[in-house]
């Protein structure tokens, strides 16, 4: 009964000063809405960075020889039986629905030479069909075509490389690299198509050739330096890595790496961005906390006589503080619900197709081997939204504690002198 009385009093008091409550609730709701939008945008941005980088790089999960990550040398490759075991492991039933697609690559550092010039490049022997579905490069075709099954001497190069080597589609050039035998071997290639990412390093430094051609040229039949796996979601990387490690456990020639290990620059970049977001969100939370503290404190200070009456008719100091505390919680709860709805509505209503930052950048941006699309599509994660809501609830609770404590310490006789 007592709890019911205090509950009723607190609930009515929130509605009593409607304007002040509404302003406070609006500040909190906007804060939470901004938080949800910002988190969704950050999630979307990170997912896009990761997706772009892993498609050009080694996938969400990379299956490689143990030393390859450190050396990048062809002698640390997977042989044909290891590639077959890795491919078999990827067909495991527990990975269905988790693995979106995979491809194998035989990559070496080499030299691309033409009559005009010579430039260092990263040559990647790829399966044209699998790579077309995996990598973003085939979609950035500038001229000609991408590699096709059956191609032998074909090469797909960036426009900057073509420009520096003065090559056009149909022209021939020579690739030179150290083969598995340890000998430096040359390979003639013909340009079948060019791509443009807008990122100088990529447009100048990547060459795709057919995997059989690369294997023959580098004397590594059936081999691959990386089996790259693309997952349905980057958030499930650990799950996929653990499953693959369990299935390939005991095979000393194989190492399974998640993208944070295989592409540590990317992970560092995401973490740094997360830190930046964290600072922004902390400031946002502090503003919200001050809004609650201000509203509840003002309410307490302007209602001293009312609290005096409550204690004069039999409430304890603790009871009075509970009323104030409940008011803060009601305000927080109402604002939290409003903020979440507003956050969802705003993000979904205006930016479901992405927020276009292209007006703010002059060209494509590169980040850790990936191309950053200036259009960021926000992504909601239930866990993130729940975390934001719980954080707001905790802040609301903490911000209500001090006014509640002040109310409990009231000098009743003095409070009764207070004019409403």
């Amino acid at each position: 009964m007592k709890a019911r009385a205090l509950f009723k009093l607190a609930a009515r008091s929130v509605g009593r000063n409607a304007r002040r409550s509404a302003l406070t609730a609006a500040a909190m709701a906007l804060g939470l809405a901004l938080l949800i939008f910002s988190r969704a945008l950050a999630e979307g941005g990170h997912e896009q960075w990761i997706d772009s980088a892993v498609r050009l790089g080694t996938g969400h999960v990379a299956i490689q020889a143990p030393e390859y990550l450190e050396t990048g040398r062809i002698e640390h490759r997977l042989d044909s039986s290891e590639v077959a075991r890795a491919a078999g492991a990827l067909e495991a039933p527990e990975l269905s629905g988790l693995v979106a697609r995979w491809t194998q690559r035989l990559s070496v550092n080499g030299l691309a030479s033409s009559a005009a010039s010579a430039l260092p490049v990263r040559v990647e022997g790829v399966d044209p069909e699998r790579e077309a579905a995996f990598s973003t490069l085939p979609g950035l075709l500038q001229e000609g075509r991408y590699l096709e099954p059956g191609d032998k001497l074909a090469a797909f190069i960036g426009v900057e490389l073509a420009h520096r080597l003065e090559l056009e589609v149909g022209d021939r050039f020579v690739l030179t690299a150290q083969a598995a035998t340890g000998e430096v071997e040359g390979q003639l290639a013909r340009v079948v198509g060019t791509f443009r990412t807008g990122v100088q390093e990529i447009d100048e430094g990547i060459v795709h050739v057919p995997l059989p051609t690369a294997r023959a040229w580098l004397a590594a039949p059936g081999a691959a330096t990386t089996v790259a796996v693309l997952l349905a979601s980057s958030r499930r990387t650990d799950e996929a890595v653990e499953t693959l490690r369990a299935r390939l456990d005991g095979d000393r020639g194989i190492r399974v790496l998640g993208w944070p290990e295989a592409q540590p620059d990317l992970e560092s970049g995401v973490k740094i961005d997360d830190w930046g977001d964290g600072i922004f969100h902390t400031i946002l939370f502090a503003i919200v906390a001050l809004a609650i503290l201000n509203a509840v404190m003002m309410s307490v200070l302007s209602r001293q006589r009312e609290f005096g009456i409550l204690q004069a008719i039999g409430l304890t100091g603790m009871d009075t503080s509970l009323v104030v505390f409940l008011e803060g919680l009601f305000l927080t709860a109402a604002s939290g619900v409003a903020g979440m709805l507003l956050g969802f509505a705003f993000t979904w209503g205006f930016f479901r197709n992405g927020l276009d930052f292209s007006g703010m950048v002059s060209s494509e941006m590169e980040f850790s081997g990936g191309i950053i699309d200036p259009v960021i599509v926000p992504i909601f994660h239930f866990g993130q939204v729940l975390l934001s809501a719980v954080t707001i609830a905790i802040i609301g609770t903490l911000a209500s504690l001090y006014p509640a404590w002040r109310a409990s310490r009231l000098d009743v006789a003095e409070a009764m002198k207070f004019e409403q």
């Binding site: 009385a5 009515r12 304890t316 100091g317």
Partner: protein, 238 residues
């Protein structure tokens, strides 16, 4: 009414002092107050502003503790109680009425009147029965659902008295309850206080400036500079 707390007297004080530390010298708001109020009495306290009337009422109600001396409400010594026990005592045995702004603005007249009963866990039907009876007696029927802002000053004070006596307290302390009322309303309120005193045996101790209210009291105490200078018992002028 169930207002028995013990002996025949409702209030007893023994050499009570209230001194506020202030520069350049402490202020003695109440000095050597020794007083006994019988159960069912109707006591008015008068005195100039600053004479200590409100402080005495606050001391009797346990809203503030004396600098020295002892106070009993019924048989219980309030000066030996902690804040929690004092709150319990006020809830169950003391009713308070103040000069103005008595009611909780977010509750209706009925909710204000029954608030202490709700805090005490009195069942719904019993609460409603008591409040309806009191509202009928005090001319408040039909105003149950109005918020204080929609009530006149006299109506608000009557609701405050209903709240004060609804819990059948041993003692009602009222600090200048008619001060903000016009003379007609003040007289009507006084009649209600007398009715509650005579019919329900409620003990009243109240402060007032109003000579007409003073005349109605059975016992009249005059305070000057925190001390009793006059204590007269007589039949009220009707």
């Amino acid at each position: 009414m169930n207002n028995s707390l013990g002996p025949d007297w409702a209030v007893r004080t023994e050499d009570v002092w209230k001194v506020y530390p202030q520069e350049p010298s402490p202020v003695e708001a109440v000095r050597a107050l020794t007083l006994e109020v019988e159960r069912g009495d109707f006591v008015a306290m008068a005195g100039p502003s600053g004479s200590g009337k409100t402080t005495v009422l606050n001391l009797l109600g346990g809203l503030t503790q004396p600098t020295r001396g002892r106070i009993w409400i019924g048989g219980r010594e309030t000066t030996a109680m902690n804040a929690r026990d004092l709150a319990r005592l006020r809830l169950e045995h003391i009713g308070f009425v103040f000069q103005a702004y008595n009611l909780l603005p977010v509750l209706t007249a009925l909710e204000n009147a029954e608030f202490t009963l709700l805090l005490r866990g009195i069942p719904d039907d019993e609460r409603r029965r008591r409040i309806e009876h009191l509202f009928g007696e005090m001319g408040l029927a039909g105003l149950e659902d109005r918020r204080p802002a929609k009530l006149s000053g006299g109506q608000q004070q009557r609701v405050a008295f209903a709240r004060a006596v609804a819990g059948e307290p041993a003692l009602v302390l009222a600090d200048e309850p008619t001060a903000n009322l016009d003379s007609v309303t003040a007289v009507a309120l006084l009649e209600i206080m007398q009715h509650l005193n005579q019919e329900h045996g409620v003990t009243f101790v109240f402060s007032t400036h109003d000579p007409r209210v003073m005349e109605q009291a059975r016992r009249r105490i005059r305070l000057v500079d925190g001390s009793i200078t006059e204590d007269v018992r007589s039949a009220p002028v009707r």
